[in-house]
Symmetry: C2
Subunit: 369 residues, 2 copies
């Protein structure tokens, strides 16, 4: 079942039912503008990642701010964006199952659809689905340039796959997918610069090898919120795929320096038990906030730690002072990791200066397949 | 949006779309029977925890196996069970918000409803909601007996709160909530025995203090899958609240000895990239499987490790042999922690001996408020 909306427009923030996913609209809009200016100044395209927000509404707002389309990781996400009016969607990920590819091909009837491949078998499966649906699908060849996850080797192997795409009747070779996920959360600027310099060099060599083979890259895509400024000025990337910049999670806030975005996304929790000094219990645990990148920060209380989460509880600890929180008091948590946190909720509650302004569905919540 | 079901009855397991939440029905039914026998033999009641399964269907099957009712942690879970036909529901947790309590009181019109309290303010709020709805609600006083989370102190403080409940016109004093969450995953039997012996002693003292004050405990509730056998023979607990026993997660499997249940719950994943020897990538990452209690185990492949999860990817590593997995191959993962894993899905796919037998909605998925 879809859960009931936890608020209504016009309410005060303190009246929102909890746990709730609260979006500070001023901060969110500032983040949209900051990224739009940065990509425009660098002369690169922005194709933000919908795996972060899972929302056709947010995708549309990003489009108004200049984004050329959206990235997704899953076919189910592509469906929800396509059905919600987004017209240019790249699955920045391998899809190899015939059933999933048939669903993706069905979308290509009314949207521009791209997908990644890192194997000949994968390309054959995409071609078969596109042929069966009589549509055209753009394919980016993914190269492994440091993340150690998906992707073929840069250079000759990538060229061989690109040739195979170009020779497939229903496929268009779109270019390269070259995302260095591990670089995003490297803490120092030196580490990030070194990682993206290496990734950019491998990518540039592959672009050149493709050019020599007569295969032009319309798109060289990659980058995330932690490193986008480096890819933007690399001279080889022309399409950035950052997602988290709209929200800024607590973990990105630990990068030195932090990316130039404001925390706009919060889990609003309520204090449900205050039986001892120095500790309060809130109603937001593992099911309400992802802790895979560390615990959430407690907004406005730098000396209070969130710790000891269990499924439905979190504990707030502080060193000094007796009763810091009262029963049923609202507390904003800054998620350590936004993407899997958003995916736990059915609704965004948009808040501006303490008032609920709007509700947006997390329409692709749970869209994993 | 609710996601489409990933399978249909009659399909082979390998045809299930992934990631999917797969329930091995033979193992699940064996677990129901094992717990039913254990509680019957010990002469204690079983009130399983629906925070694990989030399903009125599973609640009904537990009822057929002798359970007296269900526990939940959240009002939204209570609503979904009540609307799904479950007639005796205990919120084994504090609820202090007037809006939530009004919703809970509304359920008490057609169900038996209980809830916990650990403060005078909480009791007053429950009484106000019950009075406004003109219903009766049973209240258990929660005591803190080792978990260090919610709960008032055992002894005199608990007696004072129980008195306050008994003196409230629309409330019934039901007894004590005495759950030692931290004991569940202590690894050795000695540690668990010591923890539950201490919890039982504090609880027994409080039961006796209540008795001397003329306040009888109809219910002394607590226990989980890691320790239930100890509470069952404690002589003080009479209602067990285990939840995970129906599924058995990988983390409970690390207890020595492991609880006497079979792994019945799996995240079915597919291999989506196999570009290098010794590693394959599956389509199940943080959004598909909870890693807060460690990574999932790879079912049937003891020498393969799941590691390096990102939002939508997991990596399988092995030491020897070249290609162990082929593209689009299905792999069963045993979640490290079942409860938050279940909460990411809209559907259970019930499987028996390799065939899909049924689909059950995870009806209370996301029911956090």
């Amino acid at each position: 079942m879809i859960q009931r909306p936890p608020a209504e427009p016009g309410m005060a923030e303190d009246e929102i039912d909890t746990p709730a996913l609260v979006l500070d609209l001023d901060a969110f809009e500032a983040n949209l503008a900051t990224m739009a200016e940065a990509t425009k100044a660098a002369g690169v395209r922005l194709r933000p990642h919908a795996k972060t927000h899972k929302s056709p509404v947010i995708a549309r707002l990003q489009g108004r701010a200049g984004a050329v389309g959206q990235c997704v990781q899953k076919v189910a996400e592509a469906e929800i964006l396509a059905w919600g009016g987004i017209e240019d969607i790249l699955v920045s990920n391998e899809v190899v199952s015939p059933r999933k590819l048939a669903r993706l091909a069905a979308l290509a009837r009314f949207c521009k659809i791209g997908v990644c491949a890192d194997s000949a078998a994968g390309i054959a499966a995409i071609e078969a689905a596109a042929a069966a649906a009589d549509v055209s699908i753009e394919v980016l060849v993914e190269i492994e340039i440091g993340a150690g996850r998906c992707g073929t080797s840069p250079g000759a192997e990538a060229v061989a796959l690109a040739r195979r795409v170009a020779d497939s009747r229903h496929l268009t070779f779109g270019g390269l997918q070259a995302y260095h996920g591990k670089a995003q959360h490297l803490r120092t600027p030196e580490e990030r610069r070194a990682a993206i310099a290496s990734a950019s060099a491998l990518t540039a060599e592959t672009v050149e090898a493709l050019r020599q083979a007569g295969l032009a890259c319309r798109t060289v895509g990659g980058a995330g919120t932690g490193t986008f400024a480096l890819e933007a000025k690399s001279g080889v990337y022309n399409e950035l795929q950052a997602g988290s910049y709209i929200f800024m999670d607590a973990d990105y806030g630990r990068n030195q320096p932090a990316p130039p975005f404001r925390h706009s996304l919060f889990v609003l929790a309520s204090v449900m038990s205050v039986t001892r000094d120095g500790m309060a219990v809130v109603d937001a645990g593992h099911k309400a906030v992802a802790v895979d990148s560390g615990p959430p920060a407690v907004w406005g209380h730098d000396d209070v730690r969130y710790a000891g989460p269990s499924d439905e509880h979190g504990q707030l600890f502080w060193e000094s002072g007796d009763r810091r929180f009262s029963l049923d008091q609202r507390v904003r948590l800054v998620p350590g990791h936004c993407d899997p946190t958003v995916d736990r909720y059915d609704w965004y509650v948009g808040v501006r200066r303490g008032r609920v302004e709007c509700l947006w569905p997390v329409a692709a919540r749970g869209a994993m397949a």
